[in-house]
């Protein structure tokens, strides 16, 4: 339909005018910062207001970043946190989407559940981090619940939580010798907590996208498979999953790219209410961006934008390489896809 009406070249000139603000904006606010970052990563920009003369110092910044154990450690931490939140996220999204779209189950209140599941995604990460800090605090509701259920006592006496992680807190439901677990001082717990909050924030969004992908698969495909005697598992692995490939690819790439940039939750966890200050648990859940900002951008003794830019380049490279590998893996899988199904995919 489009293109049949000849608009004439005179009118088409307006196309330039209308996209110009966007292109100029991209040049200034996306391209220029990237170029800045590349250049700065080779300079001795040790001063945040750039008043000193910038000299090129070769690869010194990169060398310093690669020698920084905290930063190099944070690469693994970032992957760990992403993986810990993504696997349950996609697993639960697939399971729930199958249930929600199942013609056999015919569940009710799907809309309400979906609306509730998506709610966390809209919340301010700063607030969410603050809220969870308070929930798991020594006087927080989770500790009270665990104590009332007797779980805290059991965790402490069985040695699962070591003695120096347990605090006597008078006043939980009036008990003078009540105990609470100092969750904030347990590094493994805090790493898990960051991953859990990331899951909590994003699983609802993933469900909606997967569901939209599933409902766009033609019902007749399922019906004919059902008539042919295919079971639920076969239908899922042979029809649903292959046809969901574009949707899955979208979710994987956006989640991975976003996951490599995680900062709000671990950063605020690292500064909130004394978490990590005494015991040094801070680095356990510090992601790449957190370390970059904390060590190179804000750190009073090590403030160095050249180093921050080099670290930024490493984060950029990690993200880019991961995405390329991902696209490559998904492409290999694509060739195995039966051709008949491929032809019907168009709508997704």
């Amino acid at each position: 339909m489009k293109g049949k009406i000849r608009l004439g070249t005179k009118v088409d000139r307006w196309g330039f005018v209308f996209v110009a603000p966007f292109l100029i904006g991209i040049a200034i606010f996306t391209l220029y910062p990237i170029i800045n970052m590349v250049i700065m990563s080779f300079q001795n920009a040790t001063n945040r207001s750039f008043t000193q003369e910038l000299r090129f110092i070769g690869l010194d910044n990169y060398q310093a970043v690669f020698n920084n154990e905290t930063f190099m450690g944070s690469i693994g931490t970032t992957w760990k946190i992403w993986f810990m939140n993504f696997v349950p996220q996609i697993g639960i999204a697939l399971l729930l989407s199958v249930w929600f779209t199942s013609l056999r189950l015919r569940l009710k209140f799907i809309g309400i559940f979906r609306t509730i599941f998506y709610l966390p995604n809209l919340l301010m990460p700063a607030t969410v981090a603050g809220l969870y800090t308070m929930l798991i605090g020594n006087q927080g509701p989770i500790n009270k619940l665990l104590y009332n259920l007797g779980i805290s006592q059991w965790l402490a006496s069985s040695g699962i939580v070591s003695e120096n992680r347990v605090q006597v807190v008078a006043g939980i439901d009036g008990a003078p010798d009540a105990i609470s677990i100092m969750f904030a001082s347990i590094p493994e717990f805090m790493t898990g907590m960051v991953a859990y909050i990331q899951w909590w924030l994003w699983f609802g969004s993933t469900i909606i996208i997967v569901m939209a992908g599933m409902t766009s698969i033609s019902v007749s495909l399922y019906e004919s498979a059902y008539v042919d005697g295919a079971g639920g598992g076969t239908i899922f692995f042979k029809i649903t999953l292959p046809l969901l490939r574009p949707v899955m690819l979208y979710i994987l790439v956006t989640s991975l790219v976003g996951g490599m940039q995680i900062i709000d939750i671990p950063y605020i966890f690292g500064t909130a209410g004394g978490i990590g200050r005494p015991g040094g648990t801070l680095n356990e859940f510090a992601t790449m961006n957190v370390v970059m900002i904390r060590e190179y951008f804000r750190g009073p003794s090590t403030r160095n934008l050249g180093l921050a830019a080099a670290a930024g380049m490493v984060i950029f490279a990690v993200t880019l390489i991961a995405t390329i590998i991902l696209l490559f893996i998904m492409r290999i899988g694509k060739d195995k896809e039966p051709k008949k199904l491929k032809a019907k995919k168009g709508g997704v």
Binding site: M1, W14, G15, F18, V19, F22, L23, I24, G25, I26, I28, F29, P33, I34, N36, M37, M40, F50, I92, L105, L107, F113, T115, I116, F117, Y118, L119, P120, L122, L123, M124, P125, A126, T127, G130, M134, L135, Q139, N148, I172, W200, G204, I208, I209, A212, Y250, V257, I263, I268, T271, A272, G273, G274, M292, I293, F297, L305, A308, G312, T319
Partner: protein
Amino acid sequence: MSGKVGINIGRAAIYVILVIIALLCIMPLYIMIVNATRSTEQINKGISIFPSTFLATNWNILDKGGSLNLLRALGNSVFISVTTTTITVYFSLLCAYAIEIYNFALKKFTLGLVLFLIMIPGQVSIIGFYRLVVNFGWLDSYFPLILPAIAGAGAVFFFKQYLESCVILELIHAARIDGCSELGIFHKIMMPIAAPGAFTMAIFAFVGSWNNFFTPFLILNTQEKFTLPMVIQVIVNGNTFFREMGALYLGLAISIAPVIIVYIALSKYIISGIAMGALKE
């Protein structure tokens, strides 16, 4: 017969699982709201699912607590978010409209650029962006928070998808014959037609800007200019309010209450919008 019973048991089990997940989503927020109305003493005593009567007391503590002004931060956040949203929606729609209806040399390039850029989050080059801010003399100002909204690749992509289904070329052509200018066509014909999509996009742009902690955190220094997430971070940082649990919970509740209210009212638009932005490659 037995198959039906099996399905009913399965269905019941599924509902239990769904309710548990729903509680995981809601309970933290519910506890926050309830605790915002309770005194610190009550909160320390134990959990309650019933609100108490200390809302005003908590507000007074929060309001008088040092130099932080939560209401001022709220106003700052509203100003930044509203301007950002307006700019994002207007310029992204304009750009998507041009890509959709005109044939010009940079059309393919622009579309390719959009598809490429939605993969790259702005955070990637934050250090380079900081240098831009310093070079332009924009440190401690709102310009670097608002102006980049002109170039929102995600929003352009969203509108491109949206316009594909609602542009009526005949209508545009007719308006042109009637002597309407190109910008006039965009304002008078295209914008009303695209209003529902623009509305959906506006919600996402607003929430994105409202929740943004990282960029203002690096750029703003003056406390009067702080945005809401920054003030929340300072509050949970724990120096001023560490012992005042009720006030702390209230501060958190205030920062997300607007979003929850908007969501309850507009959840239909929001949920359909997510699927629309993600699908149809």
